[in-house]
Each structure stands twice: as C-alpha cells, then as structure tokens.
C-alpha cells in the first residue's frame, strides 16, 4: 500500500519535473548576462541580472520604429486574449441560444454548418480572411485582430449541449414568471452557465493569447505587436551583428507565460467551485 503510494508520487514528481524544468531553466537563464549565456549556454542558478533584464524588456523600446516595448506588447496581448475569449463566449452563447430555444427553419442544418467550420481552421481560410479584413480597412486595428476570429464552432457546440441539459420546466417557470426571451437568457441561462463560461474562457484566452499567424498578418504596425510575435521580432532586430539577447528573449517568454497561467489559476478555482456546487 505504502510502496504503491511512493510509486505514485514518483510518477507525479517525474511528470512535474518534465513540465516545469524548461520553464525554470528559461527563468534562471533570463536572470543572467547575455555574454555569459552565449558562452556557457543554459544557466542553472539565479543570476544577478534579474532586475535589469526585466526592466529593460518591459520598458525599453525596440523594433525599427522604437515605439514598442514589453508593456505595450503585454497590453496588446491582453486585448487580443480577452477580446478573443469574451467575443467567442458572447457569440457562441447567442448562437447556441438561438439553436436550442428557437424554432426556426433549418435550425439543425444551421447547427451542422456551424459545426462543420471546425473542419476549416483559420490557417485554411487565412488568405480570404485577410483579404476581407484588408478591404474593410481593418489592418492594424484591434477590431481586425479580434473580430474575424471570434466565431466559434467549439463554443457553440458546448453551449448547445449545456443548454439542452437545462430542464424545460425552468424555461416554463420563467415564462409564467413573465420573463421574455431576453430576460430568460440574462437572468437564468447566463448565471447557470457560469461554470461553462469559466471553462471556455480559460481555453479561449490561452488560445487567443498564443495566436501567432493571424497577428503577424494583420498587424504590420509595431504598436500592435503582441508578446508572442514580439519575442521573435524584437530578437531579430536586436541581434544584428551582435550576440543574440538570449536573456531578453527568455524574459519575454516568461512574461508571455504569466497571464495565461494567472487566468488558468483564477478561473480554475471558479470552475471547480462550479462543478462541486452543481446547480442543476
């Protein structure tokens, strides 16, 4: 029994090490001096460049135009991640609401058409999407960055399944209580979907945060760069003929990781609370 427990823990510890080591190494390395990293590779201890590296990364303007720094990119990434997640949740909840609660012609067909778009990820339709955004003059805007991405078959599907599991009597009780379609949605369905919303928010925020291809296409203005693409871009410019700024790159990577981690931690407790308190 006890041995089994030890074995269990060993497996878990191995898993943790496997996942965490690269992150820890990146962090440790980011606290060292550039030249030292270049000479001796990855660092295994905490260096004394922590403050200066992170300060430089966050505040020093980089790029060609010298108008983008870590803070700006962090802000852009947050706008993209949150806009992306919130947009997807709003759109897919409304779509699922229409599909589940309203009888309109070809409702099932509509659902399956939406569902089929799962087969067409952004990468497949990226050229026409770009064309449309560009024609609308939305290149280098947050709208152009976010809106084309927020239609979500996955979200619609999950919300549809969830709404279908809500007992009909709840709708009927609400109708007798004088709640119209809109009130029922806001007063009953949205609060009941809290758990679902939290779960989808986690997934979608991280997904949006990690977008690379689309932001690369749609933002040529460095003021709109997100962290994820900034890591690469800034590194390219800074290297020139000099030694690559590995420490800065590592620091940016660490910074880029923090917000998704925070989102997961915050929403997960929500999410689990929701599961445990199961309302329905």
């Amino acid at each position: 029994m006890n041995r089994l427990k030890v074995g269990d823990h060993l497996i878990l510890i191995a898993g943790v090490l496997f996942m965490v080591t690269p992150v820890v190494l990146a962090f440790l390395t980011s606290t060292h001096d550039n030249i030292e990293i270049f000479r001796t590779g990855l660092q295994f201890d905490f260096g004394n460049e922590f403050v200066s590296t992170y300060e430089r990364v966050l505040t020093k303007a980089g790029g060609f135009t010298k108008e983008v720094n870590g803070f700006v990119m962090l802000k852009n990434s947050l706008i993209l991640g949150i806009g992306f997640a919130v947009g997807k949740i709003v759109i897919s909840m409304l779509a699922a609401y229409a599909i589940v609660y309203f009888r309109f012609p070809l409702a099932t067909l509509c659902f399956w058409v939406i569902f089929c778009t799962l087969l067409l990820p952004l990468e497949v339709r990226i050229l026409p999407s770009y064309e449309i955004v560009q024609k609308l003059g939305l290149v280098n805007t947050y709208t152009g960055l976010i809106v084309p991405l927020i239609a979500s078959a996955t979200g619609t599907f999950y919300f549809r399944q969830f709404f279908k599991s809500v007992p009909d009597e709840l709708l009927e009780a609400a109708r007798i209580d004088g709640a119209g379609p809109w009130k029922f949605f806001i007063d009953i369905l949205v609060p009941l979907s809290k758990t679902m919303i939290a779960a989808i928010f986690i997934i979608m925020f991280v997904y949006g945060w990690n977008q690379y291809l689309w932001p690369t296409l749609i933002t040529t203005d460095e003021g709109f760069f997100t962290l994820v693409r900034g890591i690469k871009q800034i590194l390219q410019v800074w290297i020139g003929a000099q030694i690559p700024a590995y420490n800065d790159a590592m620091a940016l990577a660490i910074l880029a990781m923090l917000p998704p981690v925070i989102v997961v931690i915050v929403f997960q407790s929500w999410f689990i609370k929701g599961l445990v308190e199961s309302d329905k």
Binding site: E169, K194, D279
Partner: protein
C-alpha cells in the same frame, strides 16, 4: 380568483398524436379540480394548455370571462407548480419567490410584504437566504408553492407536485395543500395519477383515459357510481373486482364454469359485474342467496395492518378476486369460502362498451 372553462379542447401533437380529444370542463370559482388518469392519458397536456405552455389545437379555454387561447402564460394570471419544482437554482429562495413579481414591475416593499407573507404561511422563513440546492425535497416543494402563492393568481395549476416526495411527506404536503387552497379559495387544477391523492384533494374529480373524459364528479360520487369499468378499476384501492358474467335461466353465471349466482338485474344476457373488495363479505356456507354470491378458493392472505386482503380464485379456474377482511382474520390457502355482496354494492357494466348500466 376566477372560473375556468374548457370547451371541446383538443390537442394534436405534430399532426399525428391526438393527446386530448375534445375535453369540456366548467370549473367553478374557488373549486379544487383534480385531473386523474393513467400515464399518457393527456392530463399534463391539458394542464399545460390551461397554463399557456402548449398551443390549443382546437377548442377554447376561458379564464374568467376572457378567452386565453392566444394569451401569453405570464398574462393568464395563473401560477404553476411543477413536479420537479423548477426552482431557479442560482437564486436564493427569496429571489425565487420575488422573480415573477419583479418582472411585473411591482414595488419593492410590496414584493417584500408578499414574500414574507408566503414564507410565513409555508414556514420557509428560515430559508429565505438559501439556494434551492441547500433545501430538502419537502422544503423545495414549499418554495415552489410559495412562488405560486406570492403572485396571488386567479388559479393554481399543479402538475404532480408531490410525486418526488417520500410517502410520509406526500401525505403531509397533501393535507397542507388542501388546507392552503381552502383558506386562499383560489381555483385550482391539480394533476395526479395517484387515485388516493385525487380522492382526498378534489372537490370534483375528472377521470381521463386516452385523451377523453371518462367521468366528472365529486370523489365519493365517482367511487359510488363509477361511470365505466375504467373508472371502476382506477378509483379505489385495491381496485374493484370486475367479473365477466353471462345469464342463463337461473340468473347470473360465470362465462366459464360455476361458482357465481345472482339475479339478472337488467334483463340482458351479458354483463361485466363489479364489486369492491370492501363490499364482499365472507359468509357461512348455506347462507341465503344475496344479490351476488361467489364460491372461491383462498390463494393468499395479505395483511397490511389495519386490514387484510384475501386473494381467492372463483369457482374452478375462474378469475382471481380480492376481498377485504378484518386484520386478524385467519384463512388457509386452499380453503373454500363463500362470498356475498349486497345489491347496492354490485355494479353492472355493458359487456362491450364497459359503460355503467343504471337500473
């Protein structure tokens, strides 16, 4: 408070399933009507049409003097209590009660007054800040009742509100619903498949079968004079014994074999004769002929405490019948017994249609 009038109301689902086949009922102001019938007979459908949750295919429903066929549920001035309570899980008990009133734009202090009043009547005052999941089944049931009461509606509609409760609580809530309805004097329509609940609650019973009304009447009337074999077997527990009989020169007889005797009451040659378990007496052999006399052989004795039920087989290979006997009576399996019933306790039904034949 209001009358409710149903005029040849029909409901056809999807153009094919006729769930309610032309039902007419006049419900008086303040009356407690119970719709009772087996599963699938259309009682929920009928109730939901009154509530406005289901379209009326043809016919007319009036609440008060107003035809409500095309009126929204919220504007019909009714309140409904559902079998699974349908409380809003994310709202406190207080908000569950208040939600409908808020939607009507009622003033805050009036809402508060009504919620407090309902909570007092139903003794749920201590739970007002809890969410429904933190309540027991019985407490949830009270909250569901409270949500109906606060609206002070013209009519209460109940769809099997007690069937999720355990037996003891069911009896308790049944009494309470009755008391509440009597003191509020609100017209009520109550759906159940439990004949005991139906008998005890109703001012008038509506027995439904396959979308049709079999009988409407006060519970005791329905019990005393069931209009058909269906009603006879549905109301009363254990159910009425129904025996297929023919007539010959000497009077009544079983279609198969011996064991039954009695006078032919209506001059026909076939009947279904009905007699309730509580109206059969075990008499000594050789007693004078009664309206109906049966010879039977005991199968099982089933004591339930206050009384016992005796299952016996009529004649040789005849139908099995149930007889209520006193609680400590003693019978041996295989024992031969003679049973008799008085004329007023024997019901005769048409052998083909199952309708009651009155003399």
């Amino acid at each position: 408070m209001a009358t409710i009038t149903l005029d040849t109301v029909r409901k056809v689902y999807g153009g094919a399933v006729e769930a309610v086949k032309g039902v007419s009922i006049d419900i008086a102001d303040g009356e407690f009507i119970v719709l009772v019938g087996p599963s699938g007979c259309g009682k929920s459908t009928l109730l939901r049409m009154v509530a406005g949750l289901e379209d009326i295919t043809t016919g007319e429903i009036k609440i008060g003097d107003k035809v409500v066929n095309n009126v929204d549920p919220a504007n019909r001035d009714i309140a409904m209590v559902f079998q699974n309570y349908a409380l809003y899980p994310h709202m406190t008990v207080y908000n569950n009660l208040a939600y409908g009133l808020k939607n009507r734009g009622m003033a805050k202090d009036e809402i508060d007054r009504r919620v407090k009043e309902a909570a007092r009547i139903l003794e749920i005052g201590d739970y007002l800040d809890r969410k429904p999941r933190a309540l027991s089944g019985g407490q949830r049931q009270r909250v569901a009742m409270g949500r109906a009461i606060v609206r002070e509606p013209a009519a209460f509609l109940f769809d099997e509100p007690l069937s999720n409760l355990d037996a003891k609580l069911r009896v308790q809530m049944r009494v309470e619903i009755k008391r509440l309805q009597k003191s509020l004097k609100t017209t009520s329509v109550y759906v159940t498949h439990d004949q005991l609940e139906a008998m005890t609650l109703a001012d008038r019973l509506v027995v439904l079968n396959g979308g049709n009304i079999e009988q409407i009447g006060a519970p005791i009337e329905v019990y005393d004079k069931p209009a058909s074999t269906f009603v006879a077997s549905f109301i009363g527990s254990p159910a009425m014994n129904l025996l297929k009989v023919k007539t010959d020169a000497s009077g009544l007889a079983f279609e198969t074999g011996a064991g039954l005797s009695g006078a032919n009451p209506h001059g026909r040659d076939r009947y279904i004769a009905g007699v309730r378990p509580e109206h059969l007496d075990v008499v000594p052999a050789g007693s004078p002929e009664a309206a109906l006399t049966l010879k039977a052989k005991v199968n099982v004795l089933e004591p339930v405490g206050a009384e016992s039920y005796l299952y016996a087989e009529c004649g040789d290979g005849g139908p099995e019948i149930v007889i209520r006997v006193e609680s400590h009576a003693h019978f041996e399996p295989g024992q031969e017994i003679v049973l008799s019933a008085k004329a007023k306790d024997v019901h005769f039904f048409d052998a083909d249609t199952g309708r009651r034949i009155d003399g």
